[in-house]
């Protein structure tokens, strides 16, 4: 494994602490509240999954933490990284963190590598810039990094251009670049969405393996609950710029409270479904973040919503387990929920198998 530059690091835990983070964009239509009051904690060496649909604010949240936002963004609240406040540092202040402390693997490896630069140069660039390595040292390290991310024939690949590599291989190169300077925090923004299903599992396994080897924290941003299930310690579900449910991964899957989380799970195809089963979809679209609905933001699309949901916004409250938080007036398992679920099953809107399958 490639040696890391972790010796001088302070070991402040938690690594990342967000408090009431809001990211608003100024547009001609008004303020887009892309992230609207998110608080969460990430400990060293842990993997956090941020889950939500497109437009839920999950990508903006990860870019807010990294400080990779366009100049139209206004960020408030507090983001403490290893005890250091990140908000208000500006681009110049954040550059010292990029690549060294935190780095990002982007969604589409086809367009996220520089098409006119050799793969080796792209990996060597942060090594030379941040660690002051000589050209030959950087190249040797780049070759070792390619070996680390399981790319065969690294000596040959290093002198190739991205277009000469497959999609899966390019994503491995992206991971190698992100890992190059041994960051403490890795963001992976939909790292497998653009890849073949068979390659997806390999890439996720690679990220998990590197996390363990390097004692690195990972934030895995995805719309796919299936992706986070096996590869994260904790999950944060986002909707309309807010957290709606957070819990340790196993707890979330066994005791999910938020109907939105449940809908996300129901929209994943299951192996034991008979073929040609129609997948339940979440009707409607994510809320307009310029003028979000009053009350619970999911209420307009929620089959279990009642009058109160449209009027009052539910706070994020813990269950009996203090690490499990949810924001819902009538959570999964409540009497009101069960009553409505029974109606839905009776009317055929929810197949019996799914309703039963999810409730235990």
């Amino acid at each position: 494994m490639t040696p890391l530059q972790t010796e001088h690091r302070s070991d402040v835990d938690p690594l990342l602490q967000l408090d009431d983070v809001r990211t608003h964009f100024k547009t001609e239509r008004g303020r887009v509240r892309a992230v609207d009051g998110v608080s969460l904690t990430l400990r060293r060496g842990r993997a956090l999954g941020i889950v939500g649909e497109s437009g839920s604010g999950k990508t903006v949240l990860s870019r807010t933490i990294m400080g990779l936002l366009p100049s139209t963004a206004e960020v408030t609240g507090s983001i403490r990284y290893s005890g250091t406040e990140l908000i208000g540092r500006g681009r110049g202040g954040m550059r010292g963190f990029w690549g060294r402390e935190m780095s990002m693997v982007f969604q589409n490896p086809m367009v996220s590598l520089n098409p006119v630069m050799k793969v080796g140069e792209q990996i060597a660039e942060p090594l030379r810039l941040h660690l002051g390595m000589s050209r030959s040292d950087a190249k040797a390290t780049a070759t070792r990094l390619l070996t680390d991310v399981r790319i065969p024939e690294p000596e040959r690949r290093i002198d190739q251009y991205p277009h000469e590599l497959s999609g899966g291989m390019r994503q491995r190169v992206m991971i190698a670049i992100a890992l190059a300077c041994g960051p403490s925090l890795l963001f992976a923004d939909e790292p497998t969405t653009a890849l073949d299903v068979t390659v997806q599992a390999q890439i996720l396994e690679l990220i998990a393996e590197q996390r363990r080897d390097r004692n690195m924290s990972v934030v895995l941003v995805t719309h796919d609950l299936g992706v986070v299930a096996g590869h994260t310690d904790d999950i944060a579900v986002m909707y309309g710029g807010k957290l709606v449910e957070t819990a340790p991964t196993t707890l979330l899957f066994s005791e999910m409270r938020m109907p939105y989380t449940m809908s996300l799970l129901r929209s994943i195809p299951r192996l034991d479904d008979p073929s040609h089963t129609r997948l339940p979809v979440i009707a409607g679209r994510p809320p307009d973040l310029v003028a979000p609905p009053s009350g619970c933001r999911f209420a307009p699309r929620c089959a279990y919503a009642r009058e109160r949901c449209h009027q009052e916004e539910p706070p994020l409250v813990p269950t009996s387990h203090p690490d499990h938080l949810y924001a819902c007036w009538y959570p999964v398992g409540s009497d009101e929920f069960n009553e409505r679920e029974a109606d839905l099953v009776r009317s055929g809107a929810v197949p019996v198998a799914i309703a039963r399958g999810e409730q235990k």
Partner: protein, 318 residues
């Protein structure tokens, strides 16, 4: 290599077509005899004049059919012989004129294109880095001003400001001066050609840079902690150069045309002034020779641009 061969074959075809059209077109223009012989050419009643006319016609092959004259000219040209000038002063070979004039125009154009590139690339980088901010807006207005301003007006302004007021550059061109003095004398005329060209290149390059800067790989480069300036120069510039070099090639043709006015303003006796004089004199061999030089230059520059595409982008390589 095969590709280069194809391009060169196409270039030869193009040269043939351009020469044939110019040859035919020039002959539609009129009768060069008047310029060779003077008033005698019109005096067909006098037998001595008629004898002179016939002699001149035979000497310059003007009594032969057009295709024959074209083929004869073509055969000579391939061997480097552009024939003799149609003139009353003793028909010096066209190549003498070319040898004297061509280097001046080439120096002027190379200098101009070099300056245009050297100005436009940093200019576009600065504008793209500050897109839609005051610097970028001022740069846009400036570039439109330079593009809209006629060449002769810009030439005169530069001559006045940099030549007369500041006295940085000489006002005239002296053919007998040593090389570096002549280069110094060519800076003002070259700048007159370069500034509008730089403005055009800057517009294109800025737009392409702005597009490239939206690409994911730029965000990726930033997230690696690459400093802003290095992102621009190392990551964004190279993939943004395509429109720039394409127009650079095509513009070479326009600049050869534009050099005509500039050569006149700054009294540089180059090909531009030579072709104007030749057209007025109906001096077909000179016009043809200069058209051939201009076309060949244009074609070669554009072949070079094509080869440059594959240097810039590995995906184009075959």
């Amino acid at each position: 290599m095969n590709y280069l061969f194809q391009r060169l074959a196409m270039a030869v075809m193009l040269l043939l077509a351009v020469s044939a059209l110019t040859f035919g077109g020039m002959n539609l223009l009129g009768d060069p005899l008047f310029n060779i012989l003077g008033p005698v050419a019109a005096d067909t009643s006098n037998p001595t004049s008629v004898a002179k006319i016939d002699a001149a016609k035979e000497k310059y092959y003007l009594d032969r059919p057009l295709p024959e004259r074209y083929v004869r000219w073509l055969g000579d040209m391939v061997t480097g012989d552009f024939g003799v000038q149609f003139s009353s002063t003793g028909e010096p070979p066209v190549t003498n004129l070319l040898k004297e004039r061509t280097p001046r125009t080439f120096q002027l154009l190379v200098l101009a294109q070099f300056m245009a590139t050297a100005i436009s690339i940093p200019w576009a980088l600065i504008a793209a880095a500050r897109v839609r901010r005051p610097t970028d807006r001022i740069s846009t207005v400036t570039s439109f001003l330079l593009i809209a301003l006629p060449n002769f007006a810009l030439g005169i302004i530069l001559k006045y400001l940099l030549g007369i007021k500041l006295g940085w550059f000489p006002l005239t061109y002296t053919a007998s001066d040593p090389f570096f003095s002549r280069l110094h004398q060519l800076i003002l005329p070259a700048l007159t050609i370069a500034l509008p060209a730089a403005a055009v290149y800057q517009r294109l390059l800025r737009t392409d840079l702005v597009t490239t800067l939206q690409e994911d790989f730029i965000l990726m480069a930033r997230s690696k902690g690459v400093p802003r300036r290095r992102v621009l120069v190392r990551h964004a510039l190279r993939p943004s150069l395509f429109s720039f070099i394409t127009v650079f090639g095509i513009n070479t043709g326009a600049l050869i045309g534009g050099s005509l006015i500039v050569e006149t303003i700054f009294r540089v006796p180059g090909l531009g002034s030579a072709i104007v004089e030749a057209i007025l004199r109906e001096d077909f061999p000179v016009v043809l020779a200069i058209v051939m030089i201009a076309t060949t230059t244009f074609v070669l520059v554009n072949i070079a641009v094509d080869l440059l595409y594959s240097v810039l982008d590995p995906r184009v390589r075959r």
